[in-house]
């Protein structure tokens, strides 16, 4: 079976599509299986990095983000999966006057392909490629940070992943490049480090990598995660300014995930994670959790057969 997403990314309180909903683990859904379910996420930050300066803002207090997400993973074959995610996001500041924002954010789609898998030294090494695309599905505005629910860009991503499992223990390492489209503001001029007379904002691309390791066996996954997100360009928030979508947003987070299949009903599983930000630039120092319930529907006419490539 599979475990879905490390669903936390806090870019000053918004959850950014690429990082948060990318299929990021080394497990595949088996053929004709659909794993689908709702997730709830909550994260908040009080401190943030204005450039490299860590500060609080008494006119924001604590900025929190709630996310209601529907996610799914379908196995076309045991080596080829498609995934989707569609979150509803709600932001709120505990102090100051700014109105929280809410709405459906970005639809994300991925294709996940297990390019090869072979036994090495009594373990199994798999190489997986994941291509993703996400786009906003409501007309929220990115230009109201930190209350915006998203950054509005359309994102094309490619992740390469190596997964090694030996017995019940595993490690996964992956790297991603995210191509972000330009976005359009509701205003026709803006200042970054200079004046721009256009409504269009060039969004720098992003590189990220992710390491996870832990226990993975029938019915239970428990793993520690390190995640790093690096915006390839952009500029720092100037002193006492508000953030801007094309800021250089970098962050490093650590967290813990689990997935547990119900023994009495193994199609049903619970997932959860906690994550916290350990370093950042132009982002909130967010901590949060996700919890979800997933159900596997098998569309195979006859009872499923065990496939070598599909871990359950």
């Amino acid at each position: 079976m599979k475990k879905l997403f490390a669903t936390l990314c806090f870019v000053l309180g918004i959850s950014s599509a690429c990082l948060s909903q990318t299929e990021i683990d080394g497990i595949m859904m088996e053929k004709n299986g659909l794993c689908i379910g709702p997730m709830f996420g909550y994260s908040s930050w009080k401190n943030y990095w204005e450039g490299t300066l860590k500060r609080e803002n008494l006119n924001l207090g604590t900025v929190s983000t709630q996310m209601y997400n529907v996610m799914g993973n379908y196995g076309i074959t045991g080596k080829l999966n498609v995934l989707f995610g569609l979150p509803y996001v709600k932001t709120k500041a505990s102090a100051g006057q700014l109105n929280g924002q809410e709405g459906v954010q970005d639809l994300s789609l991925w294709i996940k392909w297990k390019a090869f898998s072979k036994k090495i030294a009594s373990g199994r090494l798999s190489y997986i490629l994941i291509g993703g695309y996400s786009l906003p599905v409501s007309d929220y505005t990115a230009d109201f940070l930190p209350m915006s629910i998203g950054l509005e860009s359309k994102n094309l991503s490619l992740r390469g992943m190596l997964d090694y499992q030996r017995g019940s223990w595993f490690g996964t390492i992956s790297g991603t490049y995210v191509r972000r489209s330009n976005i359009e503001l509701d205003r026709d001029a803006y200042y970054t480090t200079e004046m721009h007379y256009t409504n269009e904002v060039k969004m720098p691309d992003v590189a990220s990598f992710n390491i996870r390791a832990g226990y993975r066996d029938k019915g239970l996954i428990a793993e520690a995660v390190f995640d790093h997100w690096n915006t390839l360009g952009g500029f720092d928030i100037t002193r006492n300014n508000m953030p801007f979508p094309s800021n250089e947003m970098d962050l490093s987070r650590i967290g813990f995930n689990f997935k547990y299949d119900m023994p009495f009903h193994p199609q049903l599983s619970l997932t959860g994670n906690v994550m916290t930000t350990i370093a950042g630039r132009n982002v909130g120092q967010a901590t949060g959790f996700n919890a979800g319930i997933f159900y596997v529907i098998d569309f195979t006419k006859k009872k499923k057969t065990d496939s070598d490539d599909s871990k359950k």
Binding site: D143, R159, G160, Y177, S181, D188, A189, H196, Y197, M242
Partner: protein, 520 residues
């Protein structure tokens, strides 16, 4: 180790290929202002030397000596200087020629908007909860000088525009008087990399603008002198290598511009803006006055509480009318009392907007927000004007005259609006109803009247006079800008309506001046 390297390659090679492939599709953006065509005035306005200046006693208040004859060896050397440049122009040099050819007044207005946006950030509080005040004598220390908030910005735009206009009126006087043709006329082998003109080139109008605006900017943005000086040099170079001016055209123009600037700098030092921050005694007194009138006084909703922005800006010297007229004729009627039913109704209306904006209303609120790190509402109207003026083929002197009319109106609007704000000291909607949250930053000063509305009323009125075919559009834009503040949930309807009216009134004073300044 080999194993590990292979592993890393497997992960990253497809990613790197993907990144490089996808980077071949460009994200480059074409910005509107870099598409502006070279300025080709419909008329040289050769008689503009008789137009009415703003501060100068007349166009000859500052002398410009007669140019050397075009037959002298010195002049021929200056022509040869152009030819030497033109023999080998780099790509960058061609780019600056193109950039500056769109117009001197236009480009310096853009540079000013950029400086305003850069400096439009409120200082961060001190550890004890007070706020530091930017210091013009130490502009690079935090908080950097200036905090280019809307009143400060309006004053910057006005001084630059007014000084520039007076300098160009004087320049036009001497152009006609000395009548020295452009280098490409005196020597046919000089290329004109800009549109040719019959306008005499001595003194250079471009260098006059660079001289006067450069000096004004050093006063207004003292921490950015290097940046400004670099632009001055680039501008002069562009005109030289384009064949528009010889060196002596530029030197005479720049010197004239600098002299005119001194007159405006003297006015600026005495216009009471330096004292506009006020002090604790004044802040407390204003609050007490409102209480004594039986009204709920405005209270800062920032944390920690920040003193109101430039509380005495309402006493700054105006351009188009005197301070008595402002109090007797311009100052709006009192706002609805905070205890009246009308006030409650208007408050409820704002609450309604704060909970139920349509996507279009939200876009309008953001389009006109003009908050932190923007050129402010006066700057927004400068951008609107500039983009329209580009299509009008004005001469530089007419550009400057129209910009002066606009920006004197905008600054007077700021003075009148700030007078009303601190005279009435009316609370913001979110102060009176804590349920109200805003979709744009809450400005830290009293509510009545709306600055956006006052600015927009003034700008729309004078711009409608300058380009009558756009008058209705300007009026509609002003109404939208005004309403955007209700959508943003930071202003009551009375703030917006009375602000617009007050602004319109100020625009009428500018129209009166426009009809009699000799340019129409």
């Amino acid at each position: 180790m080999i194993q590990k390297n292979n592993t890393m390659k497997k992960i990253f090679i497809p990613i790197i290929l993907f990144a490089s492939l996808i980077n071949s599709c460009s994200k480059d953006i074409i910005e509107r202002n870099l598409e502006f065509p070279a300025l080709q005035p419909a008329s040289t306005d050769i008689n503009a030397g008789i137009w009415k200046p703003i501060l100068l006693t007349g166009p000859t208040e500052f002398p410009v000596s007669a140019p050397i004859a075009v037959t002298t060896p010195d002049y021929i050397a200056q022509i040869n200087e152009i030819k030497t440049w033109q023999a080998d122009l780099t790509k960058d040099e061609k780019a600056i020629v193109k950039y500056w050819s769109a117009g001197a007044v236009l480009r310096w207005n853009e540079i000013l908007r950029e400086l305003v946006a850069k400096h439009n950030l409120p200082p961060y509080q001190n550890p004890d909860g007070t706020y530091p005040i930017p210091n013009a004598n130490n502009p690079l220390a935090y908080p950097q000088f200036p905090f280019a908030n809307p009143p400060y910005a309006s004053r910057a735009y006005a001084y630059v525009a007014a000084a520039q206009y007076d300098a160009l009126v004087a320049a036009w006087h001497y152009k006609k008087l000395y009548n020295r043709p452009a280098p490409y006329v005196t020597d046919a082998t000089v290329n004109a990399l800009i549109p040719k003109s019959d306008l005499p080139s001595y003194p250079s109008e471009d260098a006059t603008v660079a001289g006067v605006v450069g000096e004004m900017m050093k006063l207004l943005f003292p921490g950015d002198q290097d940046f400004v000086q670099q632009k001055v040099e680039e501008h002069k170079k562009a005109r030289l290598i384009s064949g528009a001016n010889v060196r002596s055209d530029l030197e005479a123009g720049e010197a004239l511009g600098k002299l005119v600037a001194q007159k405006f700098i003297t006015r600026a030092r005495g216009d009471r803006a330096g004292a506009a921050v006020g002090n604790q005694t004044i802040w407390t007194q204003m609050e007490q006055d409102a209480i004594n009138r039986g009204e709920v006084p405005w209270i800062s909703q920032e944390s920690p509480k920040r003193p109101g922005m430039l509380v005495l800006f309402g006493r700054v010297k105006t351009w188009l009318f005197d301070s008595l007229t402002m109090v007797t004729t311009i100052r709006p009627v009192p706002p609805p009392s905070t205890s009246s039913q009308k006030f409650k109704d208007e408050l409820e209306e704002v609450y309604h907007f704060s909970t139920s904006l349509t996507p279009e209303q939200r876009q309008i609120a953001h389009f006109w927000a003009d908050g932190l790190s923007t050129p402010t509402p006066p700057g927004h109207w400068n951008a609107i004007a500039a983009e329209d003026f580009v299509r009008q083929n004005f001469s530089e002197v007419r550009w400057s005259r129209n910009m002066a009319l606009l920006n004197m109106s905008l600054m007077d609007a700021a003075v009148a609006c700030w007078d009303a704000k601190y005279f009435y000291f009316n609370p913001r909607p979110s102060q009176m109803d804590p349920r109200i949250k805003t979709v744009t930053g809450l400005p830290n000063f009293p509510s009545y009247t709306s600055g956006h509305s006052t600015f927009s009323g003034a700008a729309a009125t004078i711009l409608g006079h300058i380009i009558p075919s756009r008058a209705t559009d300007y009026t509609n834009m002003a109404k939208e800008a005004s309403l955007s503040r209700m959508y943003g949930a930071i202003h009551y309807r009375s703030d917006c309506e009375k602000g617009l009216e007050c602004g319109n009134k100020i625009g009428e004073y500018a129209k009166t001046r426009a009809r009699t300044d000799g340019a129409e």
